[in-house]
Symmetry: C2
Subunit: 356 residues, 2 copies
Amino acid sequence: MRKHIFNAGPCKLSDRTLENTARAVLELDDNGQSVMEVSHRSPEFEAVIDETKALMHEVMNIPDDFEILFLGGGASMQFAMIPYNFLQGKAFYLDTGTWSTKAIKEAALWGDVIEVSSEDKGFTYIPKGYDIPADADYAHITTNNTIKGTEIMEDMDSPVPLMADMSSDFMSRPVDFSKYAMVYGGAQKNVGPAGATFVIIRKSMLDKVVDRPIPTMLKYKTHVDKDSMFNTPPCVNIFAIRETCKWVKEMGGVEAMDKLAQHRADTLYNAIDESNMFKGTVAKEDRSRMNICFVFEDKYEGLQKDFLSFSSDRNIIGIKGHRSVGGFRASTYNACTMDDVNALVKAMKDFEKENA
Amino acid sequence: MRKHIFNAGPCKLSDRTLENTARAVLELDDNGQSVMEVSHRSPEFEAVIDETKALMHEVMNIPDDFEILFLGGGASMQFAMIPYNFLQGKAFYLDTGTWSTKAIKEAALWGDVIEVSSEDKGFTYIPKGYDIPADADYAHITTNNTIKGTEIMEDMDSPVPLMADMSSDFMSRPVDFSKYAMVYGGAQKNVGPAGATFVIIRKSMLDKVVDRPIPTMLKYKTHVDKDSMFNTPPCVNIFAIRETCKWVKEMGGVEAMDKLAQHRADTLYNAIDESNMFKGTVAKEDRSRMNICFVFEDKYEGLQKDFLSFSSDRNIIGIKGHRSVGGFRASTYNACTMDDVNALVKAMKDFEKENA
């Protein structure tokens, strides 16, 4: 039986993605070969990757002066590739929690990091009113913080090239690409299964690469020049991304995803705010629409395990909060339905009724 | 209809791998979630990765002092990671064609490369009787050369830690791990689908890592310490590797794969040697069992396209030789059956009868 999946990532994918990928694992179209068997340099697979890129361009309204790459290694590899390619003097990093902290650690290997952080309050808010130094090589932000549950919803202005790790909210809202030099992320939230990383890079950034020896696989130019085919790409993962892009388009595009994300988040945050048992964990104006974090009011803290098993009995899974925050986290990515959300809200209300 | 697939990689996989992976894409066991949805830190997925490692240990008889990692980025990323971690002074590289040439290019970024090469004869043989310098940091070989069609079948002695790129022949024969410090490869030949890289590293090698700043994702220690779970691994790809390992075990283990590989290669090379129309391209004693390369005798060279379409009409695909060699290449990895091989041999004989 299909569960109400609130995993933080990998996470719920659309039925279309799952069904069509399963079919292609048996046979890609009528090729007599699986999508896992077909040569990555065959016309059959080239059609898959070309269509995936075209769909992502269309769905996300990505201008033609950006190149879309599908790489391996995860967003964590990008934490290193960005400074390896672009950091010579100093870079600006907005530190909004675990993932940006990791990105900063890598950047420090190649240059100075100018940092604005919300660590003073445990990363429970998004810093505002700061200045990005105009002489930085680039600025880096993490738009959604899966662990703490905050999100930057605005495509901000930056005097220097802006790089955004959008691993966990890409494709949940329209993005104004004119503000960015590069947008990237691990696919395993709204975009597809784990094992592929999307990198959407403004082509002119290749002119800004620092003159230092860079391993071939870590150069953006390598992958741009070869259309993500410098070496064998993660084929089945890219196929699943294509199916997800098709599904988003059919559902009404990213504008529809945006509305659904708002509706899911509003419904859950309202339930949290109305409850006398549960409460939110971060500044209301910075709440993530992707990762809804909540905890018990102090006097109910002992009921943690009870609520997890109460929910699990209703087929609700993946709501245990990250160990660094505790409590609960309902991750409501694109494929999460109002049926899933309503099941969780009902579980929260019923549990409160029984235990308050 | 299932084709006779001779792709060089990605390549034919066992029916078991395809069917069980397709099923898991719909639902992993009875978890109510797809293998593409389940959290990588859940007990369900930990069971998958743990069993995959245990099966690979068992099937390949890997000693306990080796760690098995599943990473992203392909073998090409290892070309950089090896010297980044281990090259301080000089390293020995055996250059047997395209892939080792690429590995050498990366090593040269960090130190001196002592090279023995078969480039003098277009990489059509494996160099022999050379010495590996005892003061090298390590020695590196590529055991099978997919493009040229040569293979090193012997687990050689080395006075320094021996690193082997076994991307295209791993799991086709027993390996004496006592001779190696590290064995690695892209999965997309005998091991599974593209998108995962296996790294089998002797744990004591971590003590030999050069004291230099290395990006976190490029440190072997990062992945050993976190059991390949430092960041989200390519989950569905690892699942397919598990199914492939199970299939190898059921088929009689790597000893059975070894016999089948020999039988396939003997059958095809015999057909080539007996033919007056086709001929081999490399030194007979160094012929690959995985990639059987052959060309037309000079006077038939104009028939290239005819033979490809003659074969294609018989559902034989993937036999076009690499553009740098020309002619034909039948890649006969583990899942390639004698039925596939016999179909190709018959096509060669029939074509010769009709056109000689």
